[in-house]
């Protein structure tokens, strides 16, 4: 089956303890495209992206209501196995977080925990994932070195390769470039443009220029509300809301 819409987010409210961080969010995220969640710090964009693979389940005091449909199944229904779900919906984090293991083991781990033990297949998948993450040429001679021997940008591409290895349908990026220099950032962005041909990508960023460069759709969030959502081109050229315009022109945030 081919799905046009990856996520349908309907009337989602989210709370940490008593504090409401998302207010009545409605949003459709399309497959094979990049959707940017943009806004200043504390606007709820990271909370929203972490609802999509249920990483917030790990946070004590977190509550959510409303509905998130992923490919026509309710993400938060009781029948969903959250480990299967996270396998389909990969995630790349703000700070590169490779495991304290070799480059090879970092990629192979995701496959091993899902029961893959065939050495040849593992080798193939490690190579394919590293190639897809544009890292293979830089590391092919030192797959058994520690992942910490890589530079920050390389570590982040390793994390992307690690996510790709388990064959997800969606990859969530939570400010993936905020700890990287401009050259490493450019490489990650180039990679994302390539990956969107096959995956639904969602990226959280506070950087308007980055949203403009790589996304097809942009949602602008402020204090837990979606102020504006639309195609990136339209949102950046003719913003409807003057708060969006103010943010884009750097008047606040």
């Amino acid at each position: 089956m081919d799905f046009q819409v990856a996520f349908q987010i309907q009337n989602v409210n989210a709370f940490y303890g008593q504090k409401q961080v998302l207010k009545d969010i409605n949003l459709n995220i399309l497959d094979k495209s990049v959707t940017a969640l943009m806004g200043p710090s504390g606007c709820g964009k990271s909370t929203l992206i972490r609802c999509l693979n249920r990483m917030n389940d790990l946070v004590p005091n977190f509550r959510m209501n409303g509905q998130i449909m992923y490919r026509n199944t309710d993400l938060y229904s009781k029948e969903i196995d959250v480990t299967d779900l996270r396998r389909e919906i990969g995630m790349v984090f703000q700070k590169p977080n490779p495991f304290p293991k070799s480059i090879y083991e970092n990629i192979a781990y995701g496959l091993k925990i899902h029961g893959v033990n065939n050495r040849n297949y593992l080798d193939e998948m490690v190579e394919a994932s590293l190639k897809n993450a544009a890292l293979w040429d830089e590391v092919k001679d030192r797959l058994n070195d520690s992942a910490f021997s890589l530079s920050g940008g390389q570590q982040q591409r390793l994390c992307i390769a690690r996510a790709l290895a388990v064959k997800p349908h969606v990859i969530l990026f939570d400010e993936p470039c905020s700890a990287l220099d401009p050259i490493a950032t450019a490489k990650i962005e180039e990679l994302m443009t390539e990956l969107k041909k096959y995956y639904a990508l969602v990226i959280v960023t506070h950087n308007t220029a980055q949203a403009a460069r790589i996304s097809d759709y942009t949602a602008f969030l402020l204090l837990g509300d979606i102020i504006e959502f639309g195609s990136t081109e339209k949102l950046f050229t003719v913003p409807h809301d003057n708060r969006t315009e103010a943010y884009l022109t750097g008047k606040f945030g």
């Binding site: 693979n53 990483m55 790990l58 004590p60 480990t83 299967d84 779900l85 996270r86 396998r87 990969g90 995630m91 984090f93 700070k95 977080n97 490779p98 495991f99 304290p100 781990y109 995701g110 091993k112 925990i113 899902h114 994390c159 690690r162 996510a163 388990v166």
Partner: protein, 300 residues
Amino acid sequence: MNKIISNKRINKIFNAVGLGSTLFGLLILSILLFDVISDGWRRLGFDFLTSYPSRKPEQAGILSAWVGTVWIMITTALLSIPLGISSGIYLEEYAPKNRFTDFIEINIANLAGVPSVIYGILGLGLFVRGMHLGRSILAGGLTLGLLILPMIILTTREALRAIPSSIREASYALGATRWQTVRYQILPAAIENILTGIILAMSRAIGETAPLVTLGALTYIPFLPTNPVSFSKTIPFAHFSLQGFFDPFTVLPIQIFNWVSRPQKAFLVDAAAGIIVLLIITLLMNGLAVVLRQHHQKRW
């Protein structure tokens, strides 16, 4: 201007006071060490390690004492390590954070501070009398196991807490279960710190005298616990026995205590030699802990 000069003076004074305090501790320690070694080194030797205690100080040895210590330590480890690590993992990685787990946490921290003689009384009531284990190695080992259990739980939790949460998130985001995350990411990263804590707890247990005396450990044992493995020339050649766990025992600190309280001067020499052996064991264990800790720091 005067203010700055007086601040500098205070700094210098503290520097001198700090150095003095440090040297004072070291000085006392080296006097003690020198005293013990000069008294005891003459008695040290192969005979000392392979002889039973005796009425004659020049023939007395620590064979039953160090073998008893080894047995007790093994029993202690068998109880406290699996229980302590599992409890630590459960409390840190699995347990929900609520009032009940808070209550458990506080009490474990309190248990780690309970005087050891109280564990001896507990062991006497529960293991020796309640469970009819008698004054056996099992009763002693279980008592010391309970004594260091809270320490092992606490050090396991600390070691797990030191692993950045980004590692957990990375594993969960790939679809790993909680157990897979603990087993393949958290534990391997934390194991050296856990081992360090365990060794330090064990090296404390090795010197414990009070709980074992309370328990009624004997001071004169002219035999060894039953060998767990014995061999014969007929089938099945090897025989296994758990009888040793139910045998009476003594340990190094009790043997030392016994010698110190004897009126004859010559027994003091035996006591000093015993102390040297105990010190060497503890220092070796602490050294191992230091090596593990440094290895750990290098990797992160």
